[in-house]
């Protein structure tokens, strides 16, 4: 035998670079080679997409596609940790791909700087082996699910809000349910809270996104221990996680069932009654006579001190509020009795007007609807656009968040 002969399972450069994960049993050389031959699509380059892309790029995935139409903003940086201050204003999909390339030049990156919709999703997805749902809205979650089923691609789905996260693998194996098997009809748009309204902590999306990357590595390595058919619930506040065993695939599912009615992408904005983004929708629940704009309220309060009910959660109230505001949350407007509300507000039988304010003017309208039922003698009016409008039109030193 020649001293220069050897049998190599992997190239010298890959062996050197990935040695610490090659040493992990059940991953090893075959896992590494499979990962290198895998094309992964990340939809959403936000709080979840950043760790998914960063870990998969570092681990040596073959191809990484990134879909996002949005630009990096300053209020993304606390959780979207792949981005730097000097990238604010740049495209997220391009910025994340650039960062992955800087970390591992061996990864092929594909930038899809578009808003994913029914017209382009099939064409984009067909080139990938695994898809990661890292999006922030319900309509896009249904779109991604349906296209993954139609093209038979496993879907690693993560989501997070406030202190909580959820993680599952859909449509992976014959018994594995899809998102639609669990949630055949979409939630009422008014019950959906997104990160813009509810907030989210960086390490929560970091935890869920890192676990999504791990699920991708297990699928690529063909391990059988994925979260397919299971839903992991992560409660960061309590430091607890629970794994729920899910139902089996629903034979009557509209998309993955035995006789599917959905055979091509549908209109998801129509189906969900909500847009394919996480921006705030403007509700119109009240008649104009039950509303005032910020300039009108400015005049009213200058003339005389008013009763102002602030429906925001205490954490938002603490950020900033008008001095006359009394904090009674929307949930309290719902659960408190009329006499309890009166005493919290400090109103009496002489009080004729109460103004209601919130962050952006949606919850204040919901509150007016609840309050006028309980305290019929008072004229409740909401302040259109809430504190955000106040900050933009009346006092530019009022903190925007």
């Amino acid at each position: 035998m020649e001293n220069k002969d050897w049998v190599a399972g992997i190239s010298k450069s890959d062996a050197g670079r990935y040695s610490r994960q090659l040493l992990v049993d059940d991953f090893g050389v075959s896992g590494q080679k499979n990962l290198k031959n895998t094309a992964v699509l990340i939809v959403g380059a936000g709080g979840l997409g950043c760790p998914v892309a960063t870990y998969l790029g570092a681990a040596g995935v073959g191809t990484l596609g990134i879909v996002d139409y949005d630009r990096i903003s300053l209020d993304n940086l606390h959780r979207q940790v792949a981005y730097k201050e000097d990238q604010v204003g740049q495209s997220k999909s391009q910025g994340l791909a650039d960062n992955v390339k800087l970390q591992n030049s061996g990864v092929t990156t594909v930038v899809h700087n578009v808003s994913l919709d029914s017209s382009n999703a099939m064409e984009i997805f067909k080139n990938y082996d695994i898809v990661c749902d890292c999006t922030d809205n319900v309509a896009t979650r249904y779109l991604i699910n349906d296209v993954c089923v139609l093209l038979n691609i496993p879907l690693v789905s993560g989501s997070a809000l406030r202190w909580d996260g959820q993680l599952s693998v859909y449509h992976y194996g014959p018994d594995c349910p899809c998102y639609r098997c669990l949630f055949p009809s979409p939630p009422d748009p008014s019950s959906v809270t997104n990160c813009n309204e509810g907030g989210v902590l960086g390490p929560i999306v970091g935890t869920i996104g890192s676990m999504q990357a791990l699920e991708v590595m297990k699928i690529a390595a063909k391990l059988s221990t994925t979260l397919a058919g299971k839903l992991l619930l992560f409660d960061g506040r309590e430091g607890k996680s629970r794994t729920i065993r899910l139902r089996k695939r629903d034979p009557k599912c509209a998309v993955c069932g035995d006789e599917p009615s959905i055979t091509a992408p549908i209109d998801y904005v129509l189906f969900c009654g909500a847009g394919a983004h996480d921006k705030i929708e403007n509700l119109k629940l009240l008649e104009p006579s039950d509303r005032v704009n910020v300039h009108e309220y400015q005049e009213i309060r200058t003339a005389r001190k008013q009763f102002l009910l602030d429906t925001r959660p205490p954490v938002e109230f603490e950020i900033a509020h008008l001095p006359e505001a009394i904090n009674i949350t929307l949930n309290e407007c719902r659960s408190l009795r009329a006499d309890e509300l009166s005493s919290r507000l400090g109103v009496d039988s002489q009080t004729s007007d109460v103004y209601v304010i919130c962050h952006r003017g949606n919850d204040s309208q919901r509150a007016v609807v609840l309050l006028r039922e309980k305290l019929g003698s008072i004229h409740f009016r909401d302040i259109i656009g809430g504190y955000e409008e106040w900050a933009l039109k009346v006092n530019d030193e009022f903190p925007l968040y």
Binding site: D133, T135, A160, L182, P186, D188, G198
Partner: protein, 94 residues
């Protein structure tokens, strides 16, 4: 009747205002009855009748899990003191 711990996740917690609550259920029950009792959990929490209970907002997407197992329509359950029921709506943020 048996007292069972009900856990509220995500939006369910936001709507009910509690992370968990002990609720009385018939020891032998089914999926439909579980849902009905849980929807009106405010009766237990606030001792008031609500025409539109808060959880009705997420009724369509409210997943139930009994002892960490997904509950299907039609399922029957024998509940015990340490049974745990989770109310899980989907999260969509990210």
């Amino acid at each position: 009747m048996v007292s069972v711990k009900v856990l509220f996740f995500g939006e369910a917690f936001q709507l009910v205002g509690k992370r968990e609550e002990t609720v009385e259920f018939p020891a032998e029950t089914d999926y439909e009855e579980l849902r009905r009792i849980i929807l009106e959990v405010e009766k237990v929490i606030f001792k008031v009748f609500q025409k539109y209970p808060a959880l009705s907002k997420i009724e369509k997407v409210m997943m139930l899990a009994v002892d960490q197992e997904y509950a299907n329509p039609g399922d029957r359950f024998e509940l015990e003191r340490f049974t745990e029921i989770a109310v899980i709506p989907p999260l969509s943020g990210g």
